[in-house]
């Protein structure tokens, strides 16, 4: 008795926002996780 559920792969929310040019604006208003802030400390502005 096995029950299969097909899964679909679609573009992620991040990809859609980026493609629509909305990602930057979105991330200004939201902090989805601590990555940006953490990395901002590790890679200050101007880091090559």
């Amino acid at each position: 008795n096995l029950w299969s559920v097909p899964l679909r792969r679609t573009r992620s929310i991040r990809t859609r926002l980026r493609a629509d040019g909305l990602l930057n604006e979105f991330l200004k208003d939201h902090t989805p996780d601590m990555i940006s802030r953490r990395y901002a400390q590790c890679f200050p502005s101007g880091t090559p």
Binding site: L7, T10, S12, R16, D33
Partner: protein, 340 residues
Amino acid sequence: SLRLGRISERIYNFMDAQFYGEISLGTPEQNFSVIFDTGSADLWVPSSYCVSEACANHRCFKAFKSTSFIHDGRRFGIHYGSGHLLGTMARDTLKIGGLTIPNQEFGESVYEPSEAFLSAKFDGVLGLAYQSLAEILGSPVFDNMIEQKIVDQPVFSFYLSRCIHAKLTISPTGELLLGGTNEALYIGPIKWHPVTAKGYWQIRMDSVAVQGVSLFCPVGCEAIVDTGTSLIAGPTSDIVRLQQLIGATPSHFGEFVVDCARLSSLPQVTFVLNGTEYTLTSEQYIRKERLGKNEICFSGFQAVDIISSKEPLWILGDVFLTEYYSIFDKEHDQVGLARA
């Protein structure tokens, strides 16, 4: 949050989630697309009473049209990285892949303030983690299936296809199998890894090596197998160094990109789980995306600091799980992995 003296952190960041499937709720059936998420334990869909703009873009549950609906009335709230959900709890008949689960608790969201959901292709989330992670009181879906003896074996498996040659929106590219494994979708023996903490599907990791050299988690750490996370995540200090080792540089958005021309020269990254090596090549851990006329190569690694009672946690998300078929065994509390 602090529960029963144990610190846990739930992951609710669906910014990168990519795989979803269909379920139905109610009598007659109302269909929804949901992320099948091993990193959470709740089921929620939008309510027809939802007042948020995001709900207008999604299918909403109409309780008044279901003859099997049972009102609960308790409120629920799920906080995730980029916003939060508010709603009420209910019970109704759930159908997944031909299986019928009567009396399933779920959340009807009435408030989804995050703009993220405007762009989401899925309506809700179906959590497959252990009950201790559940925000909503009651049995998570798979626990309910086991209790009601709906599946013979308390096992479910994921096959997630990478399909890098397909175009932007991709046709059916994965399978959640309830009740066992699909031998046609994996190669070689299954290696089993005991669950070390029953919240997430959390297993022991021995080390992470770059081009054969063990650099991270050298004395062992923990990893969770999470279909609701797209990338591979680890502690910030480790991931920053790993990005440097693969030559990834940060974009304005905090994402890391590599020069696509250098892909073949990037090192392999190996995750050692219970003595078994799981190696990803650069083609496997780099995600290529087309932005206008340009192809951008994003690093498949991201920093997420999860506080746990033991060592820092790593998250093996879809980037890992597209390469390895994963089996979640609730009877023996173990995760099986085999080459997809």
